[in-house]
């Protein structure tokens, strides 16, 4: 297990390096025109462009450019040339908000998707199974900006049950924190619950026809124990891998719509606003951040696989 972990971590570092090269190329090498012009954004002056060229090394070799860009990204040296703010500080301000959204929503959607998926698999062929299956499809079909706006309007604005957007830090007031986040968590989870419960449902139904499930029944185990110990554990792998990707993406600011609809001012909303202003440095930083979280979460998922299924531990990388 230890050598498995070491191998996975080494692979993760390699992937992160490859992603940084790729991101650098996408932002600074591949597009037409001068990178310093794009960097300077809408409100550029010739002097600023010249300064950026020298500071980022755009007049020097590719390796120097790459090294400078990465140094700026990783040391928080990045400055928005649109409004002069420090990108690192902005991201640090947004991260707790994004984390709060991501962690709560990920727990919520996993728990509900497992419950719903298991239920609709066990009840398949009956009306209740069909209804839960239909519910999942309805969830998949509702876009976040629409559900979010409806929730905000009816539950927040008209009924007054929830605050109209915004965020309160957990350390300041845990109740207000949760109160502000209930709607965003729910809105973000609805889509994922739909997708995950469908995936889990089909994987549970496959597992239920396995011989070892018959063995478990032949041992005289209760149906609940058969489901949890023998069916569910063997059915989790597909949704665990989905979860790694989605949770990583949301952590890295991927829930742009949810953050914006509920005005959470997280990393995703920051990225969206920067894109609006053609402000390249923040977008570069958020892209790297998102890639980082996705890679890290995928490593976590690989470790989870190994915990869930001992057969995976012997495989290479």
């Amino acid at each position: 297990m230890l050598s498995f972990l070491v191998r996975r971590l080494a692979a993760m570092v390699l992937v992160l390096f490859a992603i940084s090269v790729l991101t650098f190329s996408i932002f600074n090498v591949i597009p037409n025109g001068e990178p310093e012009n794009r960097m300077a954004g809408r409100t550029q002056t010739p002097a600023q462009v010249e300064a950026i060229r020298r500071e980022w090394g755009f007049d020097r070799g590719m390796v120097v450019q790459y090294a400078t860009t990465m140094r700026k990204v990783f040391t928080g040296d990045l400055i928005s040339y649109y409004n002069g703010s420090r990108v690192g500080e902005e991201i640090l301000r947004g991260l707790p908000r994004t984390f709060s959204l991501a962690v709560g929503a990920a727990l919520l959607w996993m728990a509900l998707a497992v419950a719903l998926g298991l239920y609709s698999a066990v009840r398949s062929g009956r009306l209740s199974g069909w209804l839960t299956g239909a519910l999942a499809v309805i969830g998949i079909s509702m876009p976040v900006f629409w559900v979010g706006a409806l929730m905000n309007h009816y539950l927040g604005f008209e009924a007054g049950l929830f605050p109209n957007g915004g965020y309160v830090p957990l350390t300041e007031d845990p109740l207000a924190w949760a109160h502000h986040l209930i709607l965003p968590w729910t809105a973000l989870s609805i889509l994922f619950i739909g997708v995950y419960s469908r995936v889990l449902r089909s994987s549970v139904m496959d597992t239920m026809s396995e011989d070892y499930v018959r063995t478990a029944r032949a041992k005289g185990l209760s149906e609940g124990r058969v489901l949890v110990r023998h069916v569910l554990r063997n059915s989790l792998i597909p949704i665990v891998s989905l979860w790694g990707l989605d949770f990583g993406a949301v952590l890295g600011g991927g829930a742009i719509l949810t953050e914006t609809v509920f005005d959470l001012q997280g990393v995703g909303q920051y990225a969206a606003e920067s894109i609006d202003q053609l402000d390249v440095p923040p977008v570069l930083a958020v892209t790297m951040l998102g890639a980082f979280f996705i890679v890290v979460l995928n490593t976590v998922v690989d470790v989870l696989y190994a915990v869930l299924d001992p057969r995976i531990r012997i495989g290479r990388l």
Partner: protein, 342 residues
């Protein structure tokens, strides 16, 4: 004679399909006594497994329909609700499955699966159950290290021993072994058969052995029930059925088995044709279409009756002397000889 452990009367199993109801098992009756090995033999699709699974209640589903009765002591297995049946499974009656790799949970340690079987029925501490499981696993010939191994780390024979240990965990009176050696290679087959024979001696459990392998029957069974297309066609002791088979299907089955058939170097015979469809009603004897001895009477279904002596029953209209004559004269008469495909 003691009363039987398991008494099956007129068991029928049918499954609803898109084409209609398929009768997998039809009016099957047999008894299993303490310490006895009864083999149910037949080709694939004969209904032997459906029959065994019906006793365990493992093929209950919305599309399955059961008739007749199966008594395990005072309990009628077909009539009891799932919850009551669950208490019987593993305790009074246990299953040894066909393919031990797919029958073991891949993500659970072998020992834990045995422990789980114990703790499903008995109030024992985890520690005590572990000790008992460890001892049980050693007693069926597993190394001590097998306890903490995952199924993929064990060999085929060891996996089947784990399944046997699991089946024995609550000292069942009836063991249902569904093709217990089919997925194993020949040397391991012999070991597992020896283990089953030893268990029968040691525990006195009755074993219902479902197989298509007549070699396994000869090695282990006391009595045989030959099944064809959902019905029993011949029952008797192993001696009676192997040395004085009464039903032409049994002749064919014996004739197509290496080692049991004629002299060395002789070609094995195959039974021509395929088993009939079991949708719709019967048109007489089910073996009729493949039987070289078919005659007018075969248009009606023969009864399973003791025609040669007590305990030896068959389902064939041919007069007993005719059968002997035909069997002796034709060798494996009328059964089309075919080379074995390489």
């Amino acid at each position: 004679m003691s009363s039987p452990l398991l008494r099956v009367e007129d068991l029928g199993v049918s499954f609803a399909t898109a084409e209609g109801s398929v009768r997998a098992v039809d009016s099957v009756s047999f008894e299993l006594r303490t310490g006895e090995v009864l083999a149910i033999v037949g080709e694939s699709g004969a209904g032997k497994s459906a029959c065994a699974m019906a006793l365990m209640g493992l093929n209950r589903s919305p599309g399955a329909c059961f008739s007749g009765a199966a008594w395990l002591g005072e309990l009628e297995l077909l009539a009891v609700p799932d919850a009551a049946l669950r208490r019987v499974r593993g305790t009074d009656m246990a299953l040894i499955p066909q393919d031990p790799l797919s029958a073991l949970n891949p993500v659970q340690r072998a020992g834990d699966q045995v422990v789980e079987a114990m703790r499903a029925h008995e109030r024992v501490s985890r520690r005590a159950a572990r000790e008992r499981a460890r001892a049980l696993m050693v007693s069926v010939g597993l190394p001590a290290a097998a306890f903490a191994a995952h199924p993929h780390e064990l060999s085929g024979g060891m996996r089947q021993r784990v399944m046997i240990a699991m089946a024995l965990s609550c000292q069942p009176r009836v063991l249902i072994a569904d093709e217990p050696t089919t997925a194993l290679d020949v040397t391991i087959q012999a070991q597992v058969l020896a283990l089953l024979a030893e268990l029968r001696e040691r525990t006195g459990a009755g074993i219902l052995l479902v197989t298509h392998d007549l070699g396994v029957v000869a090695a282990l069974a006391d009595r045989v029930a030959v099944m064809y297309a959902g019905r029993l066609v011949e029952t008797g002791t192993v001696d009676e059925v192997f040395h004085d088979p009464q039903h032409p299907y049994t002749w064919g089955l014996l004739g197509s088995t290496p080692g049991l058939a004629g002299a060395r170097g002789e070609r094995l015979a195959a039974i021509a044709g395929a088993p009939p469809s079991r949708l719709g009603p019967d048109a007489g004897c089910r073996f009729r279409a493949r039987c070289p001895h078919e005659h007018a009477a075969c248009a009606a279904m023969p009864e399973l009756a003791e025609r040669v002596g007590p305990g030896h029953a068959d389902r064939c209209w041919l007069p007993v002397d005719q059968k002997r004559l035909r069997r002796e004269h034709g060798g494996r008469i009328g059964l089309e000889p075919r080379g074995i495909a390489a």
